[in-house]
């Protein structure tokens, strides 16, 4: 009997504490899913969640660099308060995404999460962040499933997830159209690396290429960590396609390009890759074998981007390690702008940031001018600038003179080549 009494007392005490804290949290907050309450001296806590250890840490470093530069430009200040930037390593796998998100959502002061880096980490992260009422803004996950709300077709989107990078479906369509219509390719081989990104992009490209009337003659994969690509290249060369599409990252992409020229039967195969290799180091590292390699990717160019790169060099002393720093920079600026727009400050100096209000603001984002182009968000979280997808080609200027970004060869909807 006494045990039941004890349980009842514990239950009542916990209930009182919970309602008390809810009252304290929710004072004056009329947001449907709650507010972040900032007392007069509180900083604004923003979290990044990226892969910053292990073999994929160059993605995370790339994004974190973009985030930090964006915040430095605003002196780490938003809403008249100091920004406290915290970080969590989400690795590039589901376990990392799950753990990092759980940790971040357990802190009620975190206003929003910028991340994750990899689609595979995003799949378990999205429901956790969404159910906890958080805004999750990813600068580099392009898998089409992430912004697809339809569970039947494999979609995993949930409210609160947005991304500043484009959808693989768009990139796959551009790659296939370019290969079929511009290059006149009728057969295509594809290579992915088992990552969510590469597999999804390969599927989208193959589907579009087949719809145009082309034939996919080989679909294969390499492992992350492979250095010897001779075996798969020999296999592809045994039934040489018109074009090889390989949306894989450094260093596997470097190895594939560098070794292809030694493979008998590979002389006439056109090499087409994607934004995974849209990194300044790719032509430098691959040397002359990168000459003529074509890439799909966003045309992140122009003076603002040049200025950004200068800031990067000043801060880190070398080129950005991957191709998503500009998307992270844009994500940070969109977030800070959104906070300025929706936060409400009382006369006593307490600021409330409505979580649903923040989501709604993002869902209605239109024509944000960023480094990556003009960003407008769809209701299911696709904010990536769609007009900027182009085909680049690596020329001697990129390999020998360090020119970057590379030469634009073709834009969808335009006839001009060269």
């Amino acid at each position: 009997m006494s045990r039941i009494l004890f349980q009842v007392i514990v239950f009542l005490v916990l209930g009182a504490l919970a309602s008390g804290s809810a009252l304290a949290q929710g004072q004056g907050c009329d947001d449907a899913i709650g507010c972040v309450t900032l007392r007069p001296d509180d900083p604004v806590t923003i979290a990044w969640m990226q892969t910053v250890s292990g073999p994929t840490s160059f993605f995370g470093d790339d994004a974190v660099g973009g985030i930090e530069i964006a915040m430095e430009q605003r002196d780490y200040t938003v809403l008249g308060r100091e920004i406290e930037l915290i970080g969590e390593d989400s690795l590039c796998n589901p376990e990392g995404g799950q753990t990092a998100t759980q940790r971040l959502v357990s802190d009620p002061q975190v206003v929003a999460i910028i991340g994750p880096s990899c689609s595979s980490a995003a799949v378990p992260a999205i429901p956790i962040a969404s159910n906890a009422g958080f805004l999750m803004l990813s600068p580099m996950t392009t898998s089409s499933a992430l912004t697809n709300p339809d569970r039947e077709s494999g979609g995993v989107w949930m409210p609160g997830f947005f991304r500043t990078v484009y959808n693989n479906l768009l990139e796959g369509a551009v790659a296939a159209q370019f290969a079929y219509e511009e290059l006149g390719a009728r057969t295509m081989a594809t290579v992915h690396d088992g990552s969510n990104y590469a597999f999804d992009l390969v599927l989208a490209t193959e589907r579009n290429f087949t719809e145009f009337g082309g034939e996919v003659t080989f679909s294969g994969a390499v492992n992350v960590g492979d250095t010897d690509m001779t075996a798969i290249l020999t296999n592809i060369a045994s039934n040489a396609p018109d074009v090889l599409f390989f949306p894989i990252f450094q260093p596997e992409g470097d190895y594939l390009v560098a070794q292809a020229k030694f493979i008998p039967g590979f002389e006439d195969v056109i090499m087409l890759t994607a934004d995974a290799l849209l990194v300044e180091g790719f032509p430098i590292d691959s040397g002359e074998s990168a000459l003529g390699v074509m890439l799909t990717g966003p045309a992140v160019t122009g003076e603002p981007y040049e200025a950004f790169l200068e800031l990067w060099f000043d801060k880190y002393g070398e080129a950005p390690p991957s191709g998503f720093h500009a998307h992270a920079f844009d994500a940070t600026n969109m977030l800070l702008d959104a906070l300025e727009a929706i936060a409400v400050t009382d006369e006593d100096g307490t600021t409330l940031v409505g979580r649903q209000a923040l989501r709604d603001y993002f869902a209605n984002y239109r024509d944000f001018e960023g480094l990556t182009g003009t960003l407008s968000c769809s209701p299911t979280g696709d904010c990536g600038a769609v007009e900027s997808m182009v085909i680049f080609v690596i020329t001697e200027a990129e390999v020998y003179e360090g020119k970057w970004p590379p030469t634009i060869l073709w834009k969808p909807g335009s006839e001009n080549t060269g």
Partner: protein, 366 residues
């Protein structure tokens, strides 16, 4: 009412086995037959199909030998340390990375100054020496700081320490040089191909193979023909007796780590000349695992075994997926390259548990 069931070692499914054979033997025999049969069927199908030309097979073979040479050089470090201390130095892959990653900056400055093109052989020797020095320093520090205090600890303790040391080295270098990728410059004379008839072999691959052979011969000479080599062998046989004979055990162990480290550093540069890209703080991880496999394959603790194991693994990885898996109709065969490598390990170990050239270790050694 309780029934006790005794399972005889000599009965399987109730059927008595021939005298002297246990159920385990039978399972292993069946496994041997199945794996060998799969390999023969796969290879037979591929060859009958005639999908690949003779030149393509040869290209794969040479690429495999070159890759195997790198594995072999790293494997020597595992095998030397195992021979002396009976411990697996899992941080050895990162010792390889330390030399390769540090030297990439010197290599690129050689290219920019034109030294690499005007004196390529001298430049390569300097690079190899520098990388060997860096890796040797890391290996010796590793022994002094991480392993020596644990020399009399249970065997699992230094093993776990090695894994910790591996992370420590990786992230130290990441802190020093960043997480991006670097690449070695390509050397003009390595770019061409060496042709005999219709067979073309990239000179880079020949260079890797020959340099590895030279380094291995030097090591073999050192261990078999010099005083310090004799001391190393005596420590490997029995530490206590070696001490009684006046051998300075600490010195020999440090020397062993230094030699293993120097070979790994040289392998880092050779690897960079052969596969210039992908120089990064994590680059030692996979080659480390492969080299460990190669060392076990060849018979751990045995120097020629490590060389043979490395070459064997390199060739099997290059040829296996196209030869066996394609013939068995397995999709994405090349992604299963590691499956081939580790299946070969299993195959060799079920035929020869001590490795290709390994001796049966006495209870004390094992």
């Amino acid at each position: 009412m309780t029934k006790t069931r005794t399972v005889s070692r000599n009965r399987i499914l109730g059927v008595p086995l021939p005298a002297g054979r246990s159920g385990v033997d039978l399972v292993i025999s069946a496994l041997r037959i199945i794996i060998v049969a799969l390999i023969i069927i796969g290879a037979g199908n591929t060859l009958l199909e005639g999908r690949f030309t003779f030149e393509q097979w040869l290209a794969l073979l040479f690429a495999g030998l070159a890759q195997g040479s790198i594995y072999a050089l790293i494997a020597l470090g595992y095998t030397l340390v195992y021979g002396i201390l009976r411990m697996i130095n899992f941080a050895h892959g990162d010792v390889f990375m330390a030399g390769a990653f540090t030297t990439v900056f010197l290599a690129n400055s050689f290219r920019h100054s034109g030294f690499l093109d005007s004196q390529p052989l001298l430049a390569i020797l300097i690079l190899m020496g520098f990388a060997a020095l860096v890796s040797m320093t890391v290996a010796v520090l590793l022994e002094r700081i991480a392993y020596r205090p644990l020399r009399n600890a249970p065997r699992l303790v230094p093993l776990i320490t090695a894994i910790g040391a591996s992370f420590f080295i990786q992230y130290t270098f990441r802190g020093l040089f960043g997480s991006g990728f670097k690449a070695y410059p390509t050397v003009a004379f390595l770019r061409g191909t060496f042709s005999v008839g219709s067979i073309n072999v990239p000179i880079a691959q020949l260079f890797v193979f020959l340099s590895a052979i030279v380094l291995m011969l030097c090591l073999y000479w050192l261990v078999e023909r010099t005083r310090i080599g004799k001391a190393m062998r005596s420590v490997s046989e029995d530490k206590e007796v070696a001490t009684l004979m006046g051998v300075n055990i600490d010195l020999i162990i440090v020397f062993t780590f230094a030699i293993g480290g120097a070979l790994a550093g040289a392998a880092g540069v050779i690897n960079g000349l052969f596969r210039p890209q992908g120089v990064n703080f994590f680059m030692g991880f996979f080659p480390g695992i492969k080299a460990f496999t190669a060392a076990v394959l060849g018979g751990i603790g045995n120097i020629p075994g490590a060389m043979l194991g490395g070459m064997f693994l390199g060739v099997i990885e290059a040829i296996g997926p196209n030869l066996v898996l394609n013939g068995l109709g397995i999709p994405s065969a090349n992604q299963l390259k590691d499956v081939i490598a580790f299946t070969m390990l299993v195959l060799v170990l079920i035929f020869r548990p001590q490795g290709i050239l390994g001796e049966r270790l006495s209870a004390e050694k094992a």
